[in-house]
């Protein structure tokens, strides 16, 4: 077999592993592989079909990545809103009303049998990470004290969408990594916290992605947030300002972490709540920008949850079997 035959057999034949390539220089082989790679990429049906989608996606990403007048405006708005809140608090609430009845109403709200869907938005700690985070969408379904599902969708420039699910049915915690074709990743189920339930590399690099979310596992349920709020924060209640989408009768709970509390939990928490029913419409968490010596490695600067809808679903919403095929490996820890 000539070198050219060997190369052709290697590139296009049925058994490339059996071809002897010793007569071909690596430079030549690399050149042919790149030509084949460009051709494959060109002709990959999905790449062609999604080109427009890629472009639209990138327009959105680029628009976000522009140096940020919007960002400055947003910061200004937040500062102005914070100032307004502080002034309002100082002027009108020298004798603040007790917050305890409202917290009790929230508890009642949390523990009823409805499933609540929250759209979650994360603001990352750097512009670079934010460009990637723009491709991510996170939806949280919660019910009661400890049932939740966090669904993370990552859209890679319109080329691929993959999903990871993390959740608990109240008895077990589980994580379902994305389904991939070649690199098979198992589903992990544990009766303990998920945060340390997997071995290094076991879930592929998706665990890098899940880790920061699971670091704040209590933030996965409104009940967990409420428990944190009462245990680790100084809590104030103020009228809602600047949220025209909500009818009257809503208040905002503003909470600042107590000095003695763990500094890796959110610095501040805000909840927009219906004062009569205790329905939690919005939660915003703000994290301190901790130096790396604290080992937190949290890419999020802020996380916001917005209530999308309340439904009555089944138990299966919180069970891992609903999110993977029966042929997936399930590892119990």
């Amino acid at each position: 077999m000539t070198n050219l035959d060997a190369l052709n057999e290697f590139l296009d034949g049925d058994s490339p592993d059996d071809v002897d390539l010793s007569g071909i220089s690596k430079e030549e082989l690399a050149r042919h592989l790149v030509v084949a790679g460009v051709t494959s990429h060109l002709l990959a049906e999905s790449a062609i079909a999604t080109e427009d989608k890629v472009r639209q996606n990138m327009v959105a990403v680029n628009a976000h990545a522009q140096p940020s007048r919007h960002r400055r405006n947003r910061v200004f708005t937040i500062v102005a809103a914070a100032a307004a809140v502080i002034i309002t608090t100082l002027v009108y609430f020298s004798e603040p009303p007790s917050i305890d009845p409202l917290l009790e109403r929230i508890r009642v709200f949390v523990l009823d049998d409805l499933d609540r869907e929250y759209r979650v938005k994360a603001e990352t700690s750097s512009l670079g990470a934010e460009i990637f985070a723009q491709s991510m969408s996170l939806t949280l379904y919660v019910r009661g004290r400890d049932q939740y599902v966090a669904e993370v969708e990552f859209d890679l420039f319109g080329r691929q969408v993959f999903s990871t699910w993390m959740g608990s049915d109240g008895r077990e915690y589980w994580i379902v990594p994305p389904r991939m074709e070649v690199i098979q990743l198992p589903v992990i189920v544990s009766d303990k916290s998920l945060n340390r339930s997997w071995k290094s590399g076991e879930l592929g690099l998706s665990q890098e992605f899940a880790k920061p979310l699971l670091r704040f596992e209590s933030a996965m349920t409104v009940f967990g947030l409420l428990a944190d709020l009462t245990a680790n924060y100084n809590v104030e209640m103020v009228p809602v300002t600047g949220l025209s989408s909500l009818p009257e009768g809503h208040v905002e709970i503003i909470a600042y972490r107590l000095p003695q509390a763990d500094i890796t939990i959110p610095d501040a928490m805000r909840m927009v709540v219906d004062e009569d029913t205790g329905v939690v419409h919005r939660v915003a968490l703000k994290f301190a920008d901790l130096p790396s010596r604290f080992g937190v490695d949290n890419p999020f600067r802020a996380i916001r949850y917005d209530l999308v809808r309340e439904t009555v679903g089944g138990e299966e919403l919180y069970q891992h079997e609903s999110y993977h095929d029966t042929d997936r490996d399930v590892i119990r820890r």
């Binding site: 790679g37 494959s40 990637f132």
Partner: protein, 167 residues
């Protein structure tokens, strides 16, 4: 970023035999890039950085996905990376514009070559099955693919350096 996403996929297609593995590696590379973007030195080539992540993934996956990786040879991967980098640097316009022009190269191939190339690279058919589909001998198919690739390579070379105004 889109430019680099294209270049990354060309890099992966050059090394991975199976398009599903290309998707898997692309996905994993982007996750790592997302988590480590702050460590990227802006004075360096972003494309080279992101392909470096992919390269480490390929080398770490070579045992698990051995059947689907063409050659997990570190030197060869470096050479492929250099080719991808030079492809990106060769022209002032964007890679997707160049790729659009390259599609014209495929469309302008003689029909017999075009059929073979499309079946091989679009439908991922190889070997004897490809010969059966084209109703000719395997030796004949190999020649068509080889000549088709040669024409494509020459066309690609001319299109890489085509000035933007010529698009």
């Amino acid at each position: 970023m889109q430019e680099n996403a294209h270049s990354l996929r060309v890099f992966l297609h050059s090394i991975a035999r199976n398009p599903s593995l290309v998707d898997d590696l692309f996905q994993e590379t982007m996750i790592v890039a997302w988590r480590t973007i702050d460590r990227f030195d802006q004075n360096r080539s972003f494309g080279k950085w992101i392909r470096g992540i992919a390269r480490n993934l390929i080398l770490s996956q070579r045992r698990k996905a051995a059947r689907d990786i063409l050659l997990a040879d570190s030197d060869l991967i470096s050479l492929i990376d250099d080719h991808c980098e030079s492809i990106q640097l060769m022209s002032n316009d964007y890679l997707d514009q160049r790729l659009a022009r390259l599609r014209k190269c495929v469309d302008s191939l003689p029909v017999t070559y075009q059929q073979a190339i499309k079946l091989r690279y679009q439908n991922e058919v190889r070997g004897k099955r490809l010969a059966d589909l084209l109703e000719t001998s395997w030796d004949n198919v190999k020649k068509r693919l080889q000549r088709g690739r040669k024409i494509l390579y020459e066309c690609m070379e001319s299109k890489w350096i085509e000035p933007r105004s010529a698009t």
